[in-house]
Symmetry: C2
Subunit: 415 residues, 2 copies
């Protein structure tokens, strides 16, 4: 068995890449492997699959449902009412559509937070991607709800073990304004005890910061440190409204920060302090957020917009160059999730993408990373391999018509 | 003859669209036309082709050649030395690649400024697009060069008449810091006399503004007004560093302003004052600029980034909603160029695009315009028709492999 990719471009070399099981086993010229499926890699480059570090995958069902609105109006009058109508089966269909879109745009792994864990997990299992899944944990300071949420988290952690190794479980406390202090502490202790990640929205809006200062006399990250919530297993999405002192705290506790430039711009949440974060040595990765505030899950686009936003905000075209943003979208995310992925090397997980070098957007082809960050779109993605299995070849994903037909039916249901 | 598109989605209706000659002749259900080529439009939507209002098309040859650099370094050490090596044949190959990329991403018309007019015109003629082409006019205050440039402009205007009606000629004085006052006046008089457009870079960088103030005691747009250069045939690219008073002058003289968000962000030129421009009633359109400062020519991406930039800069998610940015990318540009295009209506030029509604990025499909602005990429573009001719069908452009092979050869020549 195995998968042998012949004569593919890797960096500046043409080489063969052998995948055995779910790992890259050999990278060398002229490899042979009896019984391996052979993929002709000529005219293609191999790069790591993207790691989308902050998603609410099933919100594809809300794509272009409500746009160009003020955040509160958008959430309370449009998104929450629709979300409340969705059951686990709906979430499954939304997550399948999300997985399909992610595969088509070269993503092999995502870090998700959403309701109906098993709906999402079932979709990921079937679609062949890798994902770290957390159920949204919200208690609104209600002790009964807190007890129920804790019980559910324990149950889901047990259930998550019944899925394949591609699926991991993380704690997903939504934010400091939706989860009680005691539940935040409980979730962090549970994560620490079981070696799990703790995925939370932090300092996305000014309102969140102001409310925290009013309530606790501290800014969000100061308060989280005070109650012992920061640590290397914390994945903090957004992190826009942060002072230098807060950035130092994030760095000190090795918190992983996920930048979501498109969502932050579309909702006018604010601009990410990229330079201050990078200079403090914080591990930065990239996420699309949900499709209703983006409105896609495309990491190619997210890389470009991250680089553009940083250059504009810092008034410096040399800030966040292509290679750095590419690493944010690949190996940095993989490292934050504790995965041997995000880089094409022997021994790493076989989560990779073949790029069509004859797509006009990648021509003449002076620099592939620059081309991927600044010019490519999903039409450049030819083949996607995750965990050693081919999920897409020649741009085609098996069963895509049925997935799309199921998801399109929501148009008539909700419009 | 003719082209009959059956059962295509137009707005919220399913209809047939008949194209005769180079115009849309009928839009109604159940049309018949003997001898017309029939296109099955089911599962597709018809929208106007994009009008890319500021390009240097052949700079596709410099795509990803030099990125993440300070503007002066980028231009003087990388772009200008390479540009100086390009002859008309190179420009032809670069323009063909640009046309191919534009067709693939749904653009049917572009407003260009570059060297070797005939190289670009030949490519546009062959590729079937519509374009307004200007040769770059630069004299650096040198009277000999000014005389030569004026003679060349007169010659190119005559030569432009030998091409098809799809190709128009415009004056292309580069900028106020590269063209003498007398040549600017000459070019404007020539444009006015012959009913031509006058395409110029204005207020792209702070340096340009500061230099103008130092030299003339006036800001660029004030100075241009003083010397009689503003008018409804002026297409002003960029317009970033402008005061309210300058915006009033642009509005008063009905100058058409082209916003180039990606280029402005990538080069850290600055943020476009969208709200002030829009409130002053200025006709705004959208451009990608050249591929070396973008690095693609994709109007789908440009629309999204225009909307995102405006929301971020104005700290308001309701600013520049999808429908407005879509109009900037279609009918506003067409109107600025004096074309009956940019809208799907009987009697209009048949410059249109069929969008594949079964692309996962357009699903569920609550709002096509929102989907096109915020979620689509070129993989959603199925068919492109310009001037009544099919340029792409099912994503395939005739002869594309040869165009790409020719353009890829520049990688080895310049790397």
């Amino acid at each position: 068995m195995g998968l042998l990719i012949k004569k593919v471009e890797l960096g500046t070399e043409i080489t063969d890449v052998l995948i055995e099981g779910n790992r890259i086993s050999r990278i060398a010229a002229e490899l042979e492997c009896d019984g391996a499926e052979v993929i002709n890699g000529s005219g293609k480059a191999i790069v790591p699959g993207f790691v989308n570090m902050h998603t609410h995958a099933s919100m594809t069902l809300m794509r272009s449902y409500a746009d160009d609105l003020e955040l509160h109006d958008w959430l309370t009058n449009h998104i929450w009412p629709l979300e409340s109508k969705l059951n686990e089966e709906d979430i499954y269909h939304g997550a399948r559509l999300a997985c399909l879109e992610m595969i088509k745009s070269g993503t092999t792994c995502f870090n998700d937070m959403y309701w109906h864990f098993n709906g999402v997990a079932r979709a990921v299992e079937e679609m062949g991607l890798r994902a770290m899944l957390s159920s949204v944990f919200i208690d609104f300071n209600d002790p009964d709800r807190a007890a129920m949420e804790r019980k559910q988290a324990e149950q889901l952690f047990e259930q998550s073990k019944t899925y394949s190794d591609r699926i991991g479980f993380a704690l997903g406390p939504h934010a400091i304004y939706t989860v009680s202090e005691s539940s935040l502490k409980w979730a962090k202790a549970f994560a620490d005890e079981h070696g799990l990640l703790f995925h939370i929205h932090i300092s996305e809006t000014e309102k969140e910061v102001n409310d925290c200062v009013e309530l606790h006399g501290l800014r969000p990250i100061q308060w989280l440190e005070k109650i012992g919530l920061l640590g290397p297993n914390v994945i903090a999405a957004h992190g826009i409204h942060v002072t230098d002192e807060e950035i130092e705290l994030l760095a000190k506790h090795q918190v992983k920060v996920v930048h979501n430039p498109v969502s932050n711009m579309k909702l006018a949440s604010g601009a990410f302090p990229y330079q201050r974060m990078a200079q403090a040595g914080i591990e930065l990765s990239l996420g699309t957020d949900g499709a209703s505030s983006n409105n896609n899950l495309c990491m190619l686009e997210e890389m470009k917009i991250a680089a553009l936003q940083a250059k504009l905000i810092h008034a410096d075209p040399t800030v966040l160059p292509a290679q750095q943003v590419f690493e944010m979208a690949t190996c940095n995310g993989a490292r934050a999730l504790g995965l041997d992925a995000g880089i094409i090397e022997e021994g790493m997980l076989a989560d990779c993408v073949l790029v069509d070098l004859n797509n006009p957007r990648l021509v003449p082809g002076y620099n592939l990373i620059d081309d991927l960050v600044y010019s490519a779109d999903s039409s450049c993605i030819d083949t996607v391999i995750c965990d050693g299995k081919v999920l897409m070849q020649n741009g085609i994903v098996e069963g895509e018509a049925e997935i799309i037909a199921e998801a399109r039916a929501y148009k008539n249901r909700f419009q």
